[in-house]
Symmetry: C2
Subunit: 432 residues, 2 copies
Amino acid sequence: MAVGCVNRAAPFLLLRECSKLKHLLKCVTCGREFEPEPSLYTCPHCGDRFGTLEVLYDYDRAHFDSLSPHSELGIGQFLPLLPLEGLPELPFVVGNTPLIKLEKFERRYGLKAFYLKDDGRNPTASYKDRATYVVIGKAQEWGFKTIFAASTGNAATSLAGLTAAAGLKAVVFVPARIPEGKLAQLLVYGATVLIVDGSYDDAYDLAVEVGFKKGWYCRNTAINPYLLEGKKTGALELALQLNWDVPDVVFVPVGDGTVISGICKGFMELKKIRRIDTIPAVIGVQAEGSDIVKRVFEHYIATGEIVLMDREASTIADSISAGKPRDVVKAVRYVKETGGTFLSVSDEEIGTALVSLARETGVFVEPAAAASYAGFLKMAETGDLKNKRVAVFATGNGLKDVKTAQSFVGKALRVSNDPEEAFRLLDKMETV
Amino acid sequence: MAVGCVNRAAPFLLLRECSKLKHLLKCVTCGREFEPEPSLYTCPHCGDRFGTLEVLYDYDRAHFDSLSPHSELGIGQFLPLLPLEGLPELPFVVGNTPLIKLEKFERRYGLKAFYLKDDGRNPTASYKDRATYVVIGKAQEWGFKTIFAASTGNAATSLAGLTAAAGLKAVVFVPARIPEGKLAQLLVYGATVLIVDGSYDDAYDLAVEVGFKKGWYCRNTAINPYLLEGKKTGALELALQLNWDVPDVVFVPVGDGTVISGICKGFMELKKIRRIDTIPAVIGVQAEGSDIVKRVFEHYIATGEIVLMDREASTIADSISAGKPRDVVKAVRYVKETGGTFLSVSDEEIGTALVSLARETGVFVEPAAAASYAGFLKMAETGDLKNKRVAVFATGNGLKDVKTAQSFVGKALRVSNDPEEAFRLLDKMETV
């Protein structure tokens, strides 16, 4: 199946040569295998929700010892584990985001290590650029000129930004409650934006119906199996930044279940290629008002059965608001395999976590990203993380949704141009 | 004057040892020299506007061959050329921002090379983090617990974010028209924010009056000579990323004149230590409604005299709106020394440049950053840049001010959850 690489002496060249690597697609439910082709997204036998496809590589024959640090390539350095023939044509790299060690949290919660993976520092300021990178590469390989997506915001802004950079066209379907910063990104990048009168789930259904009839390439993660391959690079990069000594526990915000599925798959593949010995327990954190994946997981653990449990979602964390989670099957299976679990946090806990994270670390994240930190805080308080090495994925920049953040902080003091008034105000604050 | 470093064999250690390097402060007008001390900001003989101080190193004796790539330190890798004893205590690095090569611009304008230095990818999303990094280091050395600043927005948000990360306190004075994204950052990071009923220039005067009486450390660039040392790292980093083969022409947005002074000084110091042979021509780009530095420069070139020309400023590019530019003396002297010049662009040109840059490159910048690109476009159209190697500094992220960006783009299409309606809308757009 795979075409191996021969030039072991020159890792940089090796990466490019490995791009010849072949892959297969396998249905996550029935196990049927398929050869890749542009029009194949999900298993024709199992349908859209149960028939999501997994990308499989020939882990034994490929020379994955070529996975060595080339941070100047961003996630392109993981090409041997990506379903691409070569690096996408983009003027900038994606990934290579900061991994921030925070000793004050280690001391406070008795952890062996605490890391914050700040993916809000990606080109369009969210984790989603990792997946878009791969979809740009596939579109370029297969000759698509237009890519469509439904999104709560970040996937769309990522698609808009990276298609602009690559000279492709984006058509995006977003729900009416998309935050202002994300909408501005879409319009400035020049995407065709359809604001759907309804929820993210409505936007999703409409996008699929329209986009496929138009013959455009699809950037809906749960449908297009290649996006997960981009999303797994968060795990690969975290592991590489820690010199393959992965944490014990990893926290990930969960809406549709796609990011967490990707992160689990990344760790599982690193184990398959013997880069790591043990897989971190991956903890999915949902908002209480959008916790379907958690419910499905709990039922799955209790009964061994995966049962869909769609219901309306509502949370301030727009990026993880999904009432009909599209990647629930992979998410619950993979998380179980890592020995992880799911938990939920309230909107109040998300807002409090957002503010305290910014004030304690200088990292301003969007509400969805604050959810994973809130989940960490919840578990840290139980003592279950004592002496553990912990990583928290922050998946989006706070500047994308300043309105929600502002609702959790006070107002600024207004002062006339008069020093005496300024002194009085400041004194008053100090004595409060 | 300087304490040299001895360990030539281990560059990483060498960087740290070089931190013992001493520096002097020299008045930019009368030339008097001073030993550094916490309470010395400007020359007591020449006053605040003319008496700005310059940081001088012993360029001959210091071992600046230790300036070699350590991008994992961000701008900390330039410690031999920073006025710090050691690296500031911060959980993340500043700088090491992407340098993006854009071949389509090279072809279109007949350039030998075009680079965009995307400093909106800094921790708080602006160039100002470079200066704040140094001020955090000095505050930690000298034992200050509170730092104050007046700012149009970015310097304040940078101070708020980095003090939060360092466990220090920030008090910031900002004008009433600060964009929403920047205000949100300030409040979320937990700074004490005083919104001054007036312009940036009013906020500046008030801050100085209040802050010094309170005994806080000052992060006003034109007053505190150390901030320029952080701001020069944009030039050092650009040069390092190009393997010391610097561009012919560099475009920089200009308000107070501090960033451009820093960038000029960076290049001049690289020449002093013989890392580069020629200094790029540094072009300052101002908004037409805030073009005092340009006017002072033109008068200076014509007469040899530097005459202050304060007047009210008004532009959509809030970060470079300064009616009483504080670093005008350094800015005009240094730019002349590089063989550069100043030009101005209209708000309309700034908005158009912002949108076209985003749509052609996927890089969404704030209006001030778009100004330098607009300045590039203006000069490129005259043909003066033919066969030149050009770099444009983008100094802030577009997410910091989405309202202004949105005023230059159309609205999104609204659609009900009905595929037929979506098709009709899309068809209509395609035929327009």
